[in-house]
């Protein structure tokens, strides 16, 4: 029974993530068009909504090119190495409360691990290999520079990200995402970003580092079109190219889901408990919807930022990471540690 429930959960989350990826490719282009006072893709289906399907068909039909001097094994392996860790990381995200279906308690999370946050970090940490290996195995100077940049960038920004998460862990005293969400029940003032942990600075640091970790503008130096053609995936075509895109969008969703879980109450509605209806499908549905809406807002933010800010220069990127975010996150951690030690915050 448990295996069956887990299987259903995995299949559902996987297909929903993939569906969101295809919707996001449409949203990204339509929103960017609106921001730049254009129309964007609007020919395939109503409002161009079928554009992702047309893209998928196109990607499958394209010739799969492997450069003559490429290292075949790693060249073929790299796209898979990008998608798999991205999907794995999402497994620990609680996307709803524990519900009761025909008397069985079903928690809305795939993997309820004691070290769940570490799991997410381990998976995203392994995602770097895809970019590095894609860059190296293509045997092209643009790809190689893109791969080198990505490894340096992701290692640098993992530090402020991990330190801002560590502050939340100090406040909540657990590494288990489901527990962190449950602690933030009640009014939205109890969320970790506000009264729950005073982690406003931590949240900002986490979000900025998250943009760098997912290689999104203003931190998209590994693919910087202006100078590197397309960076680490210059030589890729067809579905392999699409796999890198999928990984990027899944990583965006994982990163924002992690931010929501840690700082913004996860699936909590943010209303005082006495205003909520009795536990039942009305409440559970509303809570899952709250999670989805929070996710949608952060996806919108990703697109908004991408089409608003210009790209950093490489030295600016490193300066921001090591001289800006890292000291700030260390200070945040130290202040939080003092507050927790004197019982001023904490659950």
């Amino acid at each position: 029974m448990e295996i069956l429930i887990n299987f259903v959960k995995i299949v559902t989350v996987f297909s929903l993530l993939m569906l969101c990826v295809s919707i996001m490719t449409w949203v990204e282009r339509r929103l960017s068009a609106i921001i730049q006072y254009r129309l964007g893709p609007n020919r395939v289906g109503p409002w161009g909504l079928l554009q992702p399907i047309a893209d998928g068909v196109k990607f499958i039909q394209k010739q799969d090119i492997i450069p003559a001097e490429a290292h075949k094994l790693f060249y073929v392996l790299a796209p898979a190495l990008a998608v798999v860790p991205a999907l794995c990381a999402f497994a620990v995200i609680p996307f709803g409360p524990t519900v009761e279906i025909f008397g069985t308690k079903v928690p809305f999370v795939i993997l309820d691990l004691d070290g769940g946050l570490l799991w997410a970090f381990a998976a995203t940490g392994l995602g770097v290999y895809a970019l590095v290996l894609a860059g190296w195995s293509s045997n092209s100077k643009f790809s190689l520079i893109g791969g080198l940049r990505s490894s340096a960038q992701m290692i640098s920004y993992e530090l402020p990200m991990a330190l801002s998460v560590a502050s939340v862990v100090l406040v909540s005293g657990t590494l288990r995402p489901t527990q962190i969400v449950e602690q933030q029940a009640g009014s939205f003032l109890h969320w970790n970003i506000f009264g729950g942990g005073f982690q406003l600075l931590g949240f900002i640091l986490f979000t900025v580092a998250g943009y760098a970790e997912t290689n999104r503008t203003p931190f998209d130096l590994p693919e910087a079109e202006g100078e590197l053609v397309a960076g680490y995936h210059t030589e890729y075509s067809g579905m392999r190219f699409a796999a890198f895109f999928m990984a990027e969008y899944i990583n965006m969703m994982t990163s924002s889901a992690l931010g929501i879980t840690l700082f913004l109450g996860g699936w909590q509605l943010g209303l005082p408990t006495r205003w909520l209806p009795e536990p039942g499908w009305v409440l559970w549905g509303a809570q899952i919807l709250a999670f989805v809406l929070k996710m949608a807002f952060f996806q919108f933010l990703y697109v908004w930022v991408r089409w608003t800010l210009p790209r950093f220069r490489y030295d600016q990127l490193m300066n921001l990471g090591w001289k800006g975010l890292l000291p700030l996150s260390l200070a945040n951690l130290a202040v939080t540690a003092i507050l927790v030690a004197y019982d001023l915050v904490g659950h």
Binding site: F74, G115, A122, G147
Partner: protein, 165 residues
């Protein structure tokens, strides 16, 4: 179930370790080593040491090996064309070290029996239990190690900065 997982992991471990020492392409070796480190994390998981297993992936596979790969790519190392000739030093030391290793493993295999392992305590392998051990029982060694790491870090910065002044 655990036994099957262990044997699959052991096979992957030995195979990837062999690739690390026999392959002539430095990038392949580095990736095989990373794979090896992830497989070791899998062995930790089988042993219920969840926290250590996840840290193994984050620290070794996710950070250290990426930096090693970074350096290999930066130096643009090519495939070795012929094997390095072994010096007399290696000719003498390698068999001696292998023999010592075999003796240690053999002794461990003969002396250990399933009953000689204690039952695992409640909450074994969780972050909380490791934190308690680390900051209660092993507090002074832990602080000593962190001091050592700071010293090493300062030393590295000093060495790198020497030419500038």
């Amino acid at each position: 179930m655990e036994l099957i997982a262990f044997f699959v992991l052991a096979l992957l471990l030995v195979a990837s370790a062999l690739v690390v020492i026999t392959n002539r392409n430095p990038v392949t070796c580095a990736v095989a080593l990373a794979f090896n480190l992830v497989a070791i994390a899998g062995v930790y998981m089988v042993l219920d040491a969840q926290f250590i297993g996840l840290l193994q992936v984050i620290v070794y596979a996710g950070a250290i090996m990426v930096l090693i790969l970074f350096v290999i790519m930066l130096l643009n190392l090519r495939e070795e064309e012929k094997p390095h000739p072994a010096g007399t030093f290696q000719r003498v030391l390698a068999p001696a070290a292998s023999l010592l290793f075999a003796v240690v493993i053999g002794r461990a295999l003969f002396l250990s029996a399933p009953s000689s392992f204690p039952e695992k305590a409640d909450g074994f392998g969780t972050a909380a239990s490791i934190g308690n051990e680390l900051f209660m029982r092993f507090y002074y060694p832990f602080e000593a190690i962190s001091l050592l790491l700071v010293v090493a870090m300062i030393g590295a910065v000093l060495l790198a900065k020497r030419d500038v002044s």
